[in-house]
Symmetry: C2
Subunit: 440 residues, 2 copies
């Protein structure tokens, strides 16, 4: 049902291609829109995009765009603009909005306080239902975040309960609000991490959660639409870390090459330094390899199997931790499960590996008389390496969290690097065991 | 503000530990709750947990629990119970609810139609604002999914526009609904994939999106609270795949060991078969290794660097694709960027690697006279392998998507396996080039 004039670009089309546009293209297509469409697009953008537009518009127009934003969104935008522009933009707001925004700026961006909006619907406990409805209707004129929930506060702004607007509408008109409200309200403290806030909203299946200070005074609400973005952003951050790099803060195509190299080169170099230990480990077994070059042939196979098994285990544990399904104190339950899993998986690969050696000997005569010993070496090492990889992958996230690092840093490449060195030790010791007196 | 009797368990405590409980513990703690608390907990649970409780309660009580569910939730629960229980549970519903649920069951679980609720607030275009408010208040008595948006339908149920309930409350009472509604409504078709629906809701920052059939008739709404779960579940699925395994459908601790092994062993075995190619590749260079055992020493270092670089690139591209930031047609922009990134990262590692060889020679005299040639071999191979890994990692997701596979299957272990074989070829060819006539 679009009503766009034929010579104007279509707002929904611009919204679709928005992530793919350069900053210049964004500003240009934005300026081509009808005012009404431009406002709609602007209000749906990320804080970073909103900041780009604010700073890209003529100075005389900035006031209008700044004042369109709800206080929590304005605070987010101010955190995205260069520090030297902040005071100017803040000055464009009205007196009371400015006070709200300054209060919000005091909170960290990734905490409940930094995510909340102070514009919620409220009522007093002694009001009648009909009075409360009229009161909320009056409040609705000042752009509330949502009228879905009406929060019941005492004279000192302490949260007593909540009633949904729908409940008010269907309740008997002359009952008191305190008789229809629910007293058992899930709340979050101002400094709660946004990931936890998101989980609480999702678990309670509510559209907004109230933020209260230590005295029980209500400061604002965090709404579910903010939380979708948080859930998505946190998942992206974790995935980037799982891929063995620092998380990018901007979409891939908007990230400058230099920033992207910075996010990747650091971890890649650290992992490389770790892998250099494999060169030292291999060096220790140079004589063994010189006597039985065939041993070198299986090195990539053995160590990569350990790394792959470790990647599976660490991914499972990290995601379960992020979703709150696994807590720190569960480590021994995980350890027991992964011990079993690692042993089983190791045995499966050992059988496949042994069959491969025996088959190649049968078909091509690749390994000569010692082929059964080689098969045994490969099979035993695979059990050991896969077991070791699985346990390392499963326990490393617990270790990182205990040491107050992000468990998501236990990436596939990180686990693989840890597993490689010890995997080589396992392999060459198995070789020394089985090949003693024959090839060596 | 909890009001729980002292000898009853606390509902919020049970909700917190819920994911960690066994099915038996869940049923037991559920049966200890006060009826009111039990209902609240029940309504906030996942469909799978709701099904467990439904089937775990005495047969005489099931009707009550079944009828508590909104139609879209009831349909989700029925998809979780064994087929032989479905007809019985469906029979417990009232006539009209049953018809709604049967209609919803016709949709796939992961499409807009399977996610939507048919219980939305509606109004007619010719109503006055005051009439519409009264009409919505009357509808609110039949458990609507949300009264936040009021959808304006014509006599044939076609969607004409939408007006928020708040807008109705603040509009002049005697205007017509069609004069205050917005006509430019984002809608989704019934068979749209749930991930795309989630993205549309998130991008438009709306609390619900209407689902319409090809004739423009409105069938239901998908609300943002369903979408939080979808976003989280889709991210989990992608992460598990990125970790080199099939996605688990249940939380880690609730997954039976056998199902978990099945999800992991398949991919691990496939990757192992791929890695067996490295044994063949290494076999081709056995003579070279026999003449210069030192070459074997750097094999793990070289191939793992290629795998790590590839893991970074594939993770970035897969996540950007999942978020809709990168489309299939962007492949050449990504290829160009990653070519530059791979070259830069390769050069950084090449410098570190060369320094390591020269330093060890200086300190320990590890590599003898040929150390400069070895340093050159390692450095050149690193540039080649990192570049190859980066390009493979970045392009594999595009290839998979073109072939209609899930790009998230381009996991770190998968990319590493692909890179390893070719990495060995690069390395030993560089060695043959630099060491010709000396060690060899």
């Amino acid at each position: 049902m679009p009503e766009t004039a034929p010579d104007r670009p279509d707002v929904s089309e611009i919204r679709d291609v928005w992530p793919l546009l350069t900053p210049e293209e964004r500003l240009e297509s934005f300026s081509l829109l009808r005012r009404e469409d431009a406002e709609e697009l602007y209000l749906g953008l990320s804080p970073l995009s909103q900041a780009t537009i604010l700073l890209g518009r003529p100075a005389g127009e900035r006031k209008i765009w700044m004042r369109l934003l709800a206080p929590d969104d304005a605070a987010d935008v101010l955190q995205e603009v260069p520090p030297e522009n902040r005071a100017e933009l803040l000055g464009l707001l009205g007196e009371s909005a400015r006070r709200e925004v300054v209060a919000l700026l005091a909170y960290a961006e990734d905490e409940a306080g930094g995510l909340m909006s102070p514009r919620f619907a409220r009522a007093r406990p002694e009001m009648t239902v009909e009075e409360a409805i009229r009161y909320v209707r009056r409040q609705a004129r000042n752009r509330l975040e949502t009228i879905y929930y009406v929060y019941v506060l005492d004279a000192r702004q302490r949260l007593l309960g909540v009633v949904s607007f729908r409940e008010l509408l269907t309740a008997t008109a002359d009952r008191n609000v305190e008789d229809v409200m629910r007293r058992d309200v899930a709340t979050v403290p101002e400094d709660m991490d946004q990931e936890t806030v998101a989980r609480i909203i999702a678990r309670h299946d509510i559209l907004a959660v109230p933020v209260v200070d230590p005295e029980g005074r209500m400061k604002g609400i965090v709404t579910v639409d903010d939380v979708v973005d948080v859930v998505e952003a946190e998942a992206t951050e974790d995935m980037h870390k799982l891929g063995g790099m620092e998380a990018l803060e901007t979409p891939y195509l908007q990230t400058r090459l230099a920033s992207m190299l910075k996010a990747r080169a650091g971890w890649l170099a650290v992992l490389f330094l770790g892998e250099l230990l494999t060169a030292s480990a291999m060096g220790r077994y140079e004589d063994l390899i010189a006597h039985a070059v065939v041993l070198a042939v299986f090195v990539p196979l053995i160590i990569s199997s350990g790394g792959n098994a470790g990647s599976q285990a660490s991914t499972l544990v990290i995601r379960a931790m992020a979703l709150g399904q696994v807590k720190l104190r569960d480590w021994h339950r995980i350890a027991r499960r992964e011990l079993l899993a690692g042993l089983s998986l190791g045995c499966i690969l050992a059988v496949v590996g042994a069959i491969r050696v025996v088959a190649w000997e049968g078909i091509f005569g690749t390994y000569g008389d010692g082929y059964l010993r080689i098969a045994a070496t490969v099979a035993l090492s695979l059990v050991g390496v896969v077991l070791w990889g699985t346990i390392t992958g499963a326990m490393l996230p617990f270790l990182l969290r205990t040491l107050r690092f992000d468990p998501a840093s236990a990436s596939a490449p990180f686990v693989a690097t840890l597993v490689d060195v010890f995997g080589l030790v396992i392999y060459f010791n198995a070789a020394a065991l089985f090949l003693r007196g024959t090839l060596v």
